[in-house]
Amino acid sequence: MTEQVSHKPKAQLDAEFSELYRAHLRDVYSYAYYRVGDHHDAEDLTEQTFLQAYRHFERAQRESHGRPLRPWLIRIAHNLAANLYRDRSRKPASPIDETTTLAALHTTEQLVEGRDELSRVLDGVRLLPDDRREALIMRFALGMDNREIARALGRSDGATKVLIHRAIRQLEEIVGDRDAAPAAEGGRSDGRTPQDAAGRAATNARGSGSDD
């Protein structure tokens, strides 16, 4: 007995795809931008994500059983970003353009008051391992819940909860170390850097179990 596969009319599929595109263009671009740290690469990644999505949209709809398709879109972007790094064998070429990001998204008052603090947080996020950084981007930039993040990363809900918890804990240590560093400057002889803090925090976090 063969499985019956019902095909929607192409016009209907295209209309539904355009809905998906309009609803999630900003999500995909935000994810890409924070993931690769560069507007040019983020644009390419966003474009390729939607082309790939269009190509496989009908199948994704069929297999989603009515669940939201945002995790699927972000997973495409995630895979493409991984391929980008593999092809180039490098980490982001340049730091996230904080000036552009902050200027575009915050008021002048917030910029003056919060810039240093936000910069420290962004710097800390960049020092996290890829999976933890991605989970935080999905949670805080895209507002995805644990279940959506789990689907995007191909993990269980429980593992995702642990991943996010450890990411925040590690980030706290990194940012805390950075805040302490200026006060100790001149008197500190251990020569520790934020990268040291990231490594130490990662070791501590892994000591209590794997993220997977």
């Binding site: 595109y21 805390g176 805040d179």
Partner: protein
């Protein structure tokens, strides 16, 4: 939470605020998506003429006409939005860009059509 980071989650929300995609990306991407749809219509028309020579395919052009007639309207939301954004002076530039996109995406489009 440590004393140094009293509201880390709040700071994360601010630091990782969503980023609006640049307008040129939006235009390029929407042109690309429309191009794919329009090329699908062209391909269907070309197929329709050749298919008519083979009696075994005479039943299929009707389906092709249905698809071809509706595909042009499929991304109507994108088209309407793009019209609202593009000033008359920018039309030729956008059209050139769309034509370049069509050429550049020839291979990708053929792959797409193979899956539709």
């Amino acid at each position: 939470m440590t004393e140094a980071t009293p509201n880390l989650e709040g700071l994360l929300r601010e630091a990782l605020a969503p980023v609006e995609p640049p307008e040129d990306l939006v235009e390029r991407l929407e042109s690309t998506l429309m191009s794919i749809t329009e090329m699908a219509v062209d391909e269907l028309e070309a197929w329709e003429l050749s298919a008519m020579r083979d009696p075994r395919n005479w039943g299929r052009p009707a389906a092709a006409i249905v698809l071809g007639g509706t595909a042009g309207a499929a991304l109507v939301l994108l088209r309407a939005r793009r019209r609202a954004h593009v000033a008359p002076a920018g039309v030729s530039g956008v059209r050139d860009s769309a034509e370049r996109t069509i050429r550049d995406l020839g291979r990708e489009t053929r792959k797409l059509l193979g899956n539709l």
